[in-house]
C-alpha cells in the first residue's frame, strides 16, 4: 500500500475546500460548486485505486495506514455516497461553509478508517505513540467539522448545536483519556480494562447508546436535515467501524462481566429507541430514535463478531452501510418536504402518494429497507445479524432482536400507510434532490437481491 498516496488521499479533501472561501466562487450558482466537488471525488477515487496498485512504500519504519477488504468496501461506498450527499447539501442551497466542513469531515473519517487497524495492532503488541495519535486526530477533525456542518441561524438549531457541542466535548475527553491510559508504561493489570471502559463510553456517546442517547433526537430534529444526513452516513459509519476493528481483541483484554453490561445497555437502547419511536409525531424525531436502536444492534453485533474472532467485520459494515444510507436518504426527503425549516408533522404526510407518487415510492422503499423487508438490502443485513447472534449467544437474544425488528417494522409501516392513505399534506419544494435518491434506492435493491456485490466492492 503506497502510504504517500494514502496520506495525500486523506489530506486532499480538507485542503480542497479552502479555495471555496474566495469571494467570486461563493456567488457563482450551484453547478460550478457541484462540478468543483465532483472533480475532487473523481481524483479521490483515482488515488484510491493507485494507492493499491503501486508497490508499497512506508513513511516511517512501521506501517502507518492499513485497510482490510470490508473497510475498503465501506470506503468505496463512503466516497460514492459522500459525493451524492454533498450534492444534496448544495442542491438544498446549503451555504459554502457547509460544503467546506463536509469535506473536512470526510478527510477526518478517511483518516480514522485508514488508521484503525494499526491502532489495534499497536495496542497489544508494541505500544507506539504515533499509532494512537493518528486515529485521535481523525476523530477530532470529524467532530469539529460536524459542528460547522450543524450550524444554522434558527434558534432551535442553535440550542441543538450547543447540546451537540457539549456531548462531543465530553465524549472526546473520555476517548483521549482512554487512549492515553492504553499507552502508559505502568503495568498495573487493571489499567487496560479502565482504558477500554473510557474508550467505549466515548464512542458509544457518539453513536447514541442508551445512557448517552439523550442528545441524538434533539440534534437530528434541530439541525438542518441535509447536514444530519451527511454526518450520519460519513461520520457515524467510520466511527462504528473503528469500534468494530478495535473490539476484535476486546475479548482478550477485559472480563465477561463488562461484555454482559454492554449487552444489557444494547438491549436497553434497542427497547427505548424502538418503543419511544412508536408514538412520535414528527418523523425526523422518530428516525433519531431508530438510530439509537440501531446503535443497540451494532453493539450486540460487534460483541458477537469479537467473540467469533472475526478480524474483518463484514457483517457490521454491511449492516451499518445499509441502515445509514436508508436513514440519511429519509432525512433528505423529510428535509425537502419542510416549509421554512420547521420539521413536518406526520399527518402532513398523508396523501403524498396521490400527489407525488415518486417521492412516496422512494420514501416507502427506504422505510421498508430500514425495517428489513426482504427484497431490499435491510433484510439481508438483519438475516446476517440474526445468524451471528444465533451463533454466539443462546437463542433468547435473537428473539429480542426479532421482536424489536417487528416494532421497527410497525412504526415504519405507520408512516408508509399514512403516506398511502388519502388526505391533504405538504409538497416537495425542490426537485433536484431526486437524482442521488434514485441511485441510493437502486443501490439498496441491487444489494438486497445480490449481496455479493458488497464483497466484490471490497476486493476492487
Amino acid at each position: 500500500m503506497n502510504e504517500w498516496i494514502v496520506l495525500l488521499e486523506i489530506i486532499l479533501p480538507a485542503f480542497y475546500g479552502l479555495p471555496l472561501l474566495i469571494k467570486e466562487i461563493k456567488e457563482k450558482n450551484k453547478e460550478i460548486m457541484i462540478l468543483y466537488v465532483g472533480i475532487l471525488f473523481i481524483s479521490l477515487a483515482i488515488l484510491n485505486i493507485f494507492a493499491f496498485s503501486g508497490e508499497n512504500k512506508i513513511l516511517q519504519n512501521d506501517i502507518l495506514f492499513e485497510i482490510s477488504p470490508s473497510l475498503r468496501a465501506t470506503l468505496w461506498i463512503l466516497l460514492i455516497f459522500g459525493f451524492l450527499f454533498i450534492y444534496e447539501i448544495i442542491a438544498s442551497n446549503g451555504s459554502h461553509t457547509k460544503v467546506i466542513s463536509a469535506l473536512t469531515l470526510l478527510s477526518g473519517s478517511l483518516m480514522l478508517i485508514y488508521t484503525s487497524i494499526p491502532f489495534t495492532n499497536s495496542l497489544l503488541i508494541k505500544k507506539s505513540l504515533i499509532h494512537s495519535i493518528l486515529p485521535l486526530i481523525g476523530l477530532e477533525t470529524m467532530t469539529i467539522s460536524s459542528i460547522g456542518l450543524y450550524f444554522y441561524e434558527k434558534e432551535t438549531s442553535i440550542e441543538a448545536l450547543i447540546k451537540y457541542i457539549l456531548t462531543i466535548l465530553i465524549s472526546s475527553s473520555f476517548i483521549v483519556m482512554g487512549i492515553f491510559l492504553f499507552f502508559t508504561e505502568t503495568n498495573v493489570e487493571y489499567i487496560l480494562p479502565v482504558a477500554t471502559a473510557f474508550l467505549i463510553t466515548g464512542i458509544s456517546m457518539e453513536i447514541g447508546l442508551v445512557p448517552f442517547h439523550m442528545w441524538l433526537p434533539d440534534v437530528t430534529v434541530g439541525a438542518p436535515s441535509y447536514s444530519v444526513a451527511y454526518s450520519i452516513l460519513v461520520g457515524d459509519t467510520s466511527l462504528i467501524l473503528f469500534l468494530a476493528i478495535f473490539s476484535v481483541n476486546l475479548y482478550k483484554i477485559i472480563h465477561a462481566s463488562f461484555i454482559a453490561i454492554m449487552v444489557l445497555l444494547a438491549l436497553f437502547s434497542m427497547s427505548i429507541g424502538e418503543i419511544s419511536a412508536l408514538s412520535q409525531k414528527i418523523p425526523r424525531r422518530m428516525l433519531g430514535y431508530s438510530i439509537i436502536s440501531d446503535a443497540g444492534y451494532i453493539i450486540v453485533g460487534v460483541i458477537a463478531e469479537s467473540i467469533l474472532q472475526m478480524t474483518d467485520p463484514w457483517m457490521i459494515s454491511f449492516f451499518v452501510v445499509t441502515s445509514n444510507i436508508a436513514i440519511s436518504s429519509l432525512y433528505i426527503i423529510f428535509g425537502s418536504l419542510e416549509q421554512n425549516n420547521k420539521p413536518i408533522n406526520s399527518n402532513q404526510l398523508s396523501g403524498l402518494f396521490v400527489r407525488q407518487p415518486m417521492t412516496a415510492i422512494l420514501l416507502s422503499i427506504f422505510f421498508l429497507s430500514m425495517a428489513g423487508i426482504p427484497p431490499f438490502a435491510g433484510f439481508y443485513a438483519k438475516l446476517f445479524i440474526l445468524s451471528y447472534l444465533m451463533e454466539t449467544f443462546e437463542y433468547w437474544l435473537g428473539y429480542i432482536a426479532a421482536f424489536f425488528f417487528l416494532v421497527c417494522v410497525s412504526y415504519s409501516l405507520l408512516i408508509i400507510f399514512k403516506v398511502a392513505s388519502e388526505g391533504e399534506g405538504a409538497n416537495i419544494k425542490n426537485k433536484e434532490i431526486f437524482l442521488p435518491l434514485y441511485f441510493a434506492c437502486i443501490f439498496l435493491i441491487v444489494l438486497g437481491l445480490w449481496p455479493d456485490l458488497f464483497y466484490i466492492l471490497g476486493g476492487l
Binding site: K163, I170, P211, F212, H255, S257, S276, S279, Q280
Partner: protein, 634 residues
C-alpha cells in the same frame, strides 16, 4: 337379454330421462314431458318384471362387476351390482309404485308451473332408489343413499317460495344427514376392519371381525337407517315433510325412501346370518336395540296418530309406526330363526308399500279437490272435511280398502303380514311378555286411528257443504288399480318370489287375538266418533291433558326445536364468539400497551442539558465499575 345389460338399462334409464327433462324440458310443452316420464316409468317397470319373472334360476345371489373404469381406481369404490331375492322384491315395489305415482301426478301437478323440475327430480329419485337397492358395495350404497336424501330434500322443499316448506326441507336434510354421517363412520370402520366394502368379499371376512367392534359397526349403520326411516330419536322430520306435494309424500315418505333403512338392516342381517352363517346370539346387543327402537317407535307413533287433525300427519305417523313393526320383526332375530324374521319383515314391507301409497293418493285426491276452495294451509285439516262419500264414491272405496288393509281385516294383504308378525311376537311371549302386550296395544291403536280418519273424512256429516269438482280420471284409475292390488298382491308376490312365504295360514292362537282386536277397535270407534254418547268425556282433567300431550307428539319435536337446537347453537356460537372477542381484544390491548409505553418513555426524555450530562457521567461510572469489578468478586 344378458342380465348385465338389463341391470344397467334399469339403473341408467331414469337417470338419462331425468337429465334430458331437466335440460330440454323448457323447450317442450307440458304434455310431452308427462308422456316422456310415463314411458320411462313403464319401461323400467316392464324391464324389472322381465328381470324378476325370467331370472328364476338365481340360487343365492349374482354379482356383476362393472368395467373397472379409471374413474374409481380406489380399492373400495368399483362399480358392482349384487342381486338376490331381497333386491328383486325392492326393485319390483319401487318401479311399480314409481309408475303409479308418475301417472297419478299428471293429474295432481296439472296447474303447477315447475313441472319440469318435478318430473326430473322424481325420475332422479327412482334412479337413486334403484341404484341403492342393487349396489354391490357399501361405498356405492352410500353414494346413492346421499342422492336419494338430496332428492327428498329438494322435493319436500318443492314449493320453495313457502318458508314452511323449505324449512321442512332443511330439517329433513339435516336430520337424515346426522344419520348418514354416523353411517359413513360405520362404513369406514367396516372397511378398515375387513379391508373391503364389496358385499361378496364381506360375506367371507365379516366373521373375522371381533364381536365388540362388529356390534359397534352394525349400530352405526343402524343409526343411518334410523335417520332415513324416521325411527324414534330422528323421526321429527317425517311429519314436517308432509309440506311437499302429496305424490312426493306417497312415493318417498311412504312407499320407497323410508324403506331404504329397513332394506339396509335386512341386507345386513341376510349378509350376516344366511351368507356368512354367523350365530344370531353373537350380535344380540345390535338386534335387541333394533327390537327396542322398533317397538317403542311404533307404539309412540300410533298413540300420536290418534289425536292428529292433519290427514297427511295421521298417515305420516302411521307410516312411522308400521316401519316400527318392520324393525321389530328384524329385531326378533335372536328369538326366532333369522330367515323367518326377515321373511315376515319383507312381506309387511311389500304390503305396506301398496296400501300406504293407496291411502296417500286417495287423501291426495281429497286435498286436491278442496284446495282451490279452502287454500293450501287449511285443505289438509280433517275438521273441514266430511261427507265425501257421496261426492267421490270411487275415492272413498279405495281409501276404505287401504284403511281396512292397514287395520288387518281378513281379505286384504295387511291381514296376512300382520298375522305373520303377530305369530312371531307371540312366540316370544314366554321369554319377554311385555313385547307382545305393547304390540297388541299398538295394533289396536292403529286400527282405531285409521277407522277414525276414514269415518270423519267420508262418512261424518259436514258442517257446511261446498261444491267440489270430481278428481280427473287420470287420478282415480291408479287408485282403483291399487285397491285391487291390496287384495291380490300377496298372491302375485308369492308366485313371483317363491323363496319367501307371503301367504301362510296363521296359527289358531294368533287368529283369535287379531280378530278380537278388530272387534274391540270397531266398538271403540263406533262409540267415540259415530254415536258420541258421553259428550263431556274429553272434558275431565286427566283425559284432556293426555290428549294434549299426544297431540303435540310428546313435545319431542317441541323439545328439539326450542331447547336442544338453540342450546346447542348458543353453546357453540357464544363460546366461539367470546373466544373470538377475547383474542381480538388481546391483540388490540397489546398495541395500545405499546403506544402507552412509548408515551411514558417519551416523558422521561426532558430537554434539559443537565440531565444529559448527568446521564453521561452515570453511564461512564457503570462501565468503569463493571470493567474493574471482576477483580473483587471471587
Amino acid at each position: 337379454m344378458d342380465i348385465k345389460i338389463l341391470l344397467e338399462s334399469i339403473l341408467f334409464l331414469p337417470f338419462i330421462a331425468s337429465s334430458l327433462i331437466l335440460i330440454l324440458g323448457k323447450y317442450f310443452k307440458r304434455k310431452i314431458c308427462e308422456i316422456f316420464s310415463v314411458i320411462t316409468g313403464l319401461l323400467t317397470f316392464s324391464l324389472t318384471t322381465y328381470l324378476v319373472t325370467f331370472q328364476k334360476s338365481i340360487k343365492h345371489y349374482i354379482v356383476i362387476r362393472e368395467f373397472s373404469n379409471f374413474f374409481f381406481q380406489l380399492p373400495f369404490a368399483n362399480l358392482e351390482f349384487f342381486i338376490d331375492w331381497l333386491t328383486l322384491v325392492m326393485l319390483f315395489i319401487v318401479s311399480l309404485i314409481g309408475l303409479i305415482i308418475i301417472i297419478y301426478s299428471i293429474g295432481y301437478m296439472h296447474e303447477s308451473k315447475d313441472y319440469v323440475r318435478y318430473y326430473a327430480l322424481i325420475l332422479l329419485f327412482i334412479f337413486g332408489m334403484i341404484g341403492l337397492v342393487i349396489s354391490g358395495n357399501f361405498f356405492l350404497l352410500y353414494m346413492f343413499w346421499e342422492i336419494v336424501g338430496f332428492c327428498s330434500f329438494s322435493l319436500i322443499g318443492f314449493w320453495y317460495m313457502r318458508p314452511k316448506a323449505s324449512r321442512a326441507g332443511i330439517k329433513a336434510f339435516i336430520t337424515t344427514r346426522i344419520g348418514d354421517t354416523l353411517m359413513l363412520a360405520g362404513i369406514i370402520l367396516l372397511y378398515l376392519n375387513t379391508g373391503t366394502l364389496s358385499l361378496v368379499e364381506l360375506s367371507q371376512r365379516i366373521t373375522g371381525i371381533p364381536t365388540s367392534s362388529l356390534n359397534m359397526i352394525l349400530l352405526l349403520l343402524f343409526a343411518g337407517s334410523v335417520g332415513k326411516s324416521a325411527q324414534f330419536p330422528l323421526h321429527v322430520w317425517l311429519p314436517d315433510a308432509m309440506e311437499g306435494p302429496t305424490t312426493v309424500s306417497a312415493l318417498i315418505h311412504a312407499a320407497t325412501m323410508v324403506k331404504a333403512g329397513v332394506y339396509l338392516v335386512a341386507r345386513l342381517e341376510i349378509l350376516l346370518f344366511i351368507y356368512a352363517g354367523l350365530q344370531p346370539s353373537l350380535i344380540s346387543m345390535f338386534s335387541n336395540t333394533v327390537l327396542f327402537i322398533g317397538i317403542f317407535t311404533s307404539f309412540l307413533a300410533a298413540s300420536i296418530a290418534l289425536t292428529q287433525y292433519d290427514v297427511k300427519g295421521v298417515l305420516a305417523y302411521s307410516t312411522i309406526s308400521q316401519l316400527g313393526y318392520m324393525f321389530t320383526t328384524l329385531g326378533l332375530v335372536a328369538f326366532i330363526t333369522p330367515s323367518l324374521a326377515i321373511d315376515s319383515c319383507v312381506t309387511h314391507l311389500a304390503n305396506h308399500a301398496i296400501f300406504k301409497a293407496l291411502l296417500f293418493l286417495a287423501a291426495g285426491c281429497v286435498i286436491h279437490s278442496i284446495e282451490p276452495i279452502l287454500g293450501l294451509e287449511v285443505s289438509r285439516d280433517i275438521r273441514y272435511m266430511g261427507g265425501f262419500a257421496k261426492k267421490m264414491p270411487s275415492v272413498t272405496i279405495s281409501f276404505l280398502f287401504g284403511a281396512l288393509a292397514l287395520a288387518g281385516f281378513p281379505p286384504f294383504n295387511g291381514f296376512w303380514s300382520k298375522d305373520l308378525i303377530m305369530e312371531n311376537i307371540i312366540k316370544t311371549f314366554e321369554k319377554v311378555p311385555i313385547l307382545s302386550i305393547i304390540f297388541i296395544l299398538t295394533s289396536l291403536l292403529s286400527v282405531i286411528y285409521i277407522l277414525r280418519v276414514t269415518y270423519i273424512i267420508f262418512f261424518s256429516k259436514p258442517e257446511k257443504s261446498f261444491k267440489i269438482k270430481n278428481p280427473p280420471k287420470v287420478m282415480t284409475l291408479p287408485l282403483i288399480f291399487l285397491s285391487l292390488l291390496t287384495i291380490i298382491s300377496p298372491f302375485i308376490f308369492q308366485t313371483l318370489f317363491n323363496e319367501i312365504t307371503f301367504i301362510e295360514i296363521p296359527s289358531y292362537y294368533s287368529l283369535t287375538v287379531s280378530t278380537s282386536i278388530l272387534c274391540i277397535a270397531l266398538l271403540i270407534v263406533y262409540l267415540l266418533y259415530v254415536k258420541r254418547p258421553w259428550q263431556n268425556i274429553f272434558s275431565n282433567r286427566f283425559l284432556s291433558s293426555l290428549w294434549n300431550i299426544l297431540f303435540n307428539a310428546f313435545f319431542i319435536d317441541y323439545f328439539y326445536e326450542h331447547y336442544a337446537l338453540p342450546a346447542l347453537k348458543w353453546s357453540f356460537t357464544e363460546v366461539a364468539y367470546s373466544l373470538d372477542l377475547l383474542i381480538n381484544r388481546l391483540i388490540e390491548n397489546i398495541s395500545t400497551l405499546g403506544f402507552w409505553l412509548s408515551k411514558t418513555l417519551r416523558k422521561t426524555h426532558s430537554g434539559r442539558i443537565f440531565t444529559y450530562i448527568s446521564m453521561y457521567i452515570l453511564g461512564l461510572l457503570i462501565l468503569l465499575i463493571s470493567s474493574v469489578i471482576w477483580r473483587w468478586i471471587p
